[in-house]
C-alpha cells in the first residue's frame, strides 16, 4: 500500500454558526481517484477548497506528504491543478495569451512545447488565437483543462467539472483524467453525477451536512449498491429529518 500523500486529521470548517465541515479525517494515496458525492450544501466544495489550500480549516490539520500543510502552501500549489465549472480564464484574452500568462506565473521554463502539446491534445490548436469570450462552453472548458494541466500537476482537483458540458467534452475529460491517473497522480472530484463519478474513480465518498458518511474503494461496491447506499445515506435521512 502507498503512503498517504494527503492526510486530513479532524478537519473542521465553520462559517459563523454554520458548520460546513465536521471532523473530517481520511487519507489519500498517490494513484487515487476519489469522487465525492453529496447534495448541495453537503460540504464537497469546502472540502476541495481546504485540500487545495484555498481556505484554511477552522480546526484540524492537513498534511501533505507527512508535513504540515500550513508551511507548504506554495510547494503544494506548484503541484496542484484545479478544474471547476468556472474557467479561470480571462475572457478578453486569447487562449494562447491566457496559457502563456499562467505558464509564466507557474515559473515554467519551456512552456511553448507544453502549450502546443496541450492545445493539440484538447483539439484547440486551431483556436489558439481566438478570444475566450468567443468560444463555446465546451471549447472554453477545454481551454480551462489545458490551463489546469499546463504545469503537469501531480494533484488534480475538480469541482463539478462536467456541469454544462456536451458529451464529447465530457468523454474527452474522462479520457484525460484516466490518462493522468495512470501517471500515479491524485485526482479528487466533487460531482452530482454518480454514473460518471463511479466509472472514472477508484475511491468513492459521500458527504452529507458537512460529514463524511461513506468512504470506500470502488472495487468493494457495485454501482447499483452504491446508488442504493447514496439514497439511504442522503435522501432517506433528509426525508426523515423533514418529517
Amino acid at each position: 500500500m502507498n503512503n498517504p500523500f494527503i492526510d486530513l486529521v479532524g478537519v473542521h470548517k465553520h462559517y459563523g454558526e454554520i458548520d460546513a465541515l465536521k471532523d473530517i479525517t481520511f487519507s489519500i494515496e498517490k494513484g487515487t481517484f476519489l469522487s465525492v458525492f453529496g447534495p448541495n450544501g453537503a460540504g464537497k466544495s469546502t472540502l476541495l477548497k481546504i485540500i487545495a489550500t484555498q481556505i484554511t480549516p477552522s480546526k484540524g490539520k492537513i498534511y501533505y506528504n507527512g508535513k504540515d500543510g500550513k508551511h507548504l502552501e506554495n510547494i503544494f500549489r506548484k503541484n496542484l491543478g484545479i478544474i471547476s465549472h468556472k474557467t479561470y480564464l480571462y475572457s478578453s484574452l486569447t487562449v494562447l495569451d491566457n496559457l502563456r500568462f499562467y505558464a509564466k506565473l507557474y515559473n515554467m521554463k519551456n512552456y511553448k512545447k507544453r502549450i502546443e502539446y496541450l492545445l493539440k491534445k484538447l483539439g484547440l490548436y486551431e483556436k489558439e488565437f481566438d478570444y475566450v469570450k468567443n468560444l463555446s462552453r465546451g471549447m472554453s472548458q477545454r481551454a480551462a483543462i489545458a490551463r489546469a494541466l499546463l504545469h503537469d500537476p501531480s494533484i488534480i482537483i475538480l469541482d463539478e467539472p462536467f456541469t454544462g458540458l456536451d458529451q464529447s467534452v465530457s468523454n474527452l475529460l474522462s479520457k484525460i483524467l484516466s490518462e493522468e491517473l495512470k501517471k500515479n497522480k491524485i485526482i479528487i472530484m466533487a460531482t452530482h453525477n454518480i454514473d460518471l463519478g463511479y466509472k472514472a474513480s477508484n475511491k468513492l465518498a459521500i458527504m452529507r451536512k458537512g460529514n463524511l458518511v461513506y468512504l470506500d474503494k470502488r472495487e468493494n461496491i457495485s454501482i447499483d449498491s452504491f446508488k442504493e447506499k447514496y439514497i439511504k445515506l442522503v435522501k432517506y435521512k433528509d426525508a426523515y429529518e423533514k418529517i
Partner: protein, 226 residues
C-alpha cells in the same frame, strides 16, 4: 526576490494586455474626470482670485473619483471568471499579485492624469508646472498611495456583494491624509509658495506611501485568506 519581481511584472504585463484589448479602464476614467473638470469649470469664475487656491482640489476630486471607477473595473475583470481565485492558488507570493495590480492601476491612472492635466490647464488657465517642477513627483507618489490602498480594499470588497459601494466607503476616510497632502502641495505649486512648504507635504505623502506599503505587504496574506 527575483521571482517576486517577476510575478509583479507578469501581472502588470497581463493587465496592460487586457487594457489594450478592452480599452475600458483608461477611457472610462478619462471621460469621467473630464466631466468633473468641465462641470467645475462652469462653477468657478476664470477671473476669480480664489481660483488658483481651489483648482488643485478640483483636479484631485476628478482624479480620485475617476480612479475609483478604474479600481472597480480592475477588480471586476478578476472576479468575472474567478481568475482571482486562480491567481490566489498560484505558487507565488500573494502580495506580489497585489503589487502587480497596484503597479498596473498606478500606470493606468498616471496615463489618465497625463491626458486630463492639459484639459485642466485649458479650462482653468492654470499651469501646474509654472512655479515648480515638483508636480510630477506629487502626482506619481499620490497616485501610488491611492492605488495601493484602493487595490487592497478592492480585493477585500470583491468578497462582498456590494463591493462597488463598500470600496469608496472604506477607502476615502483612510485616504484623507494623502489627499490633504496632495491638494496642499499641488496648491503650493500653483500659487508659487516657498519650496519648503511643498517639501513638507511631499514628505507626508512619502511617509504615507511607505507606511502602507510595509503594512499591506505584511497583512495581505492573512486578509485574503478565507
Amino acid at each position: 526576490m527575483m521571482n517576486y519581481i517577476k510575478t509583479i511584472y507578469y501581472i502588470f504585463e497581463k493587465d496592460i494586455l487586457l487594457e489594450l484589448k478592452n480599452k475600458d479602464i483608461i477611457s472610462s476614467m478619462l471621460l469621467f474626470s473630464l466631466l468633473i473638470v468641465t462641470i467645475f469649470s462652469f462653477i468657478i469664475n476664470p477671473a476669480a482670485d480664489y481660483k488658483s487656491e481651489i483648482a488643485s482640489g478640483v483636479l484631485w476630486i476628478a482624479i480620485v473619483f475617476s480612479g475609483l471607477l478604474g479600481l472597480n473595473r480592475s477588480i471586476v475583470i478578476e472576479t468575472m471568471d474567478e481568475t482571482l481565485t486562480a491567481l490566489m492558488l498560484a505558487p507565488v507570493d500573494k502580495s506580489a499579485i497585489l503589487f502587480g495590480k497596484v503597479l498596473s492601476n498606478t500606470f493606468f491612472m498616471i496615463a489618465m492624469e497625463f491626458m486630463i492635466i492639459p484639459a485642466f490647464t485649458v479650462f482653468y488657465n492654470i499651469n501646474i508646472f509654472a512655479s515648480s517642477c515638483l508636480s510630477p513627483i506629487i502626482f506619481i507618489s499620490c497616485t501610488y498611495g491611492f492605488c495601493l490602498l484602493g487595490t487592497f480594499f478592492s480585493f477585500m470588497a470583491s468578497k462582498t456583494k456590494i463591493g462597488e459601494i463598500i470600496l469608496p466607503l472604506l477607502l476615502l476616510p483612510i485616504l484623507i491624509p494623502l489627499l490633504l497632502a496632495g491638494i496642499q502641495s499641488l496648491s503650493s505649486c500653483i500659487t508659487g509658495e516657498n519650496l519648503e512648504n511643498i517639501y513638507k507635504w511631499i514628505r507626508v505623502i512619502f511617509i504615507f506611501d511607505l507606511i502602507f506599503t510595509v503594512v499591506i505587504n505584511a497583512i495581505f496574506e492573512y486578509i485574503v485568506e478565507e
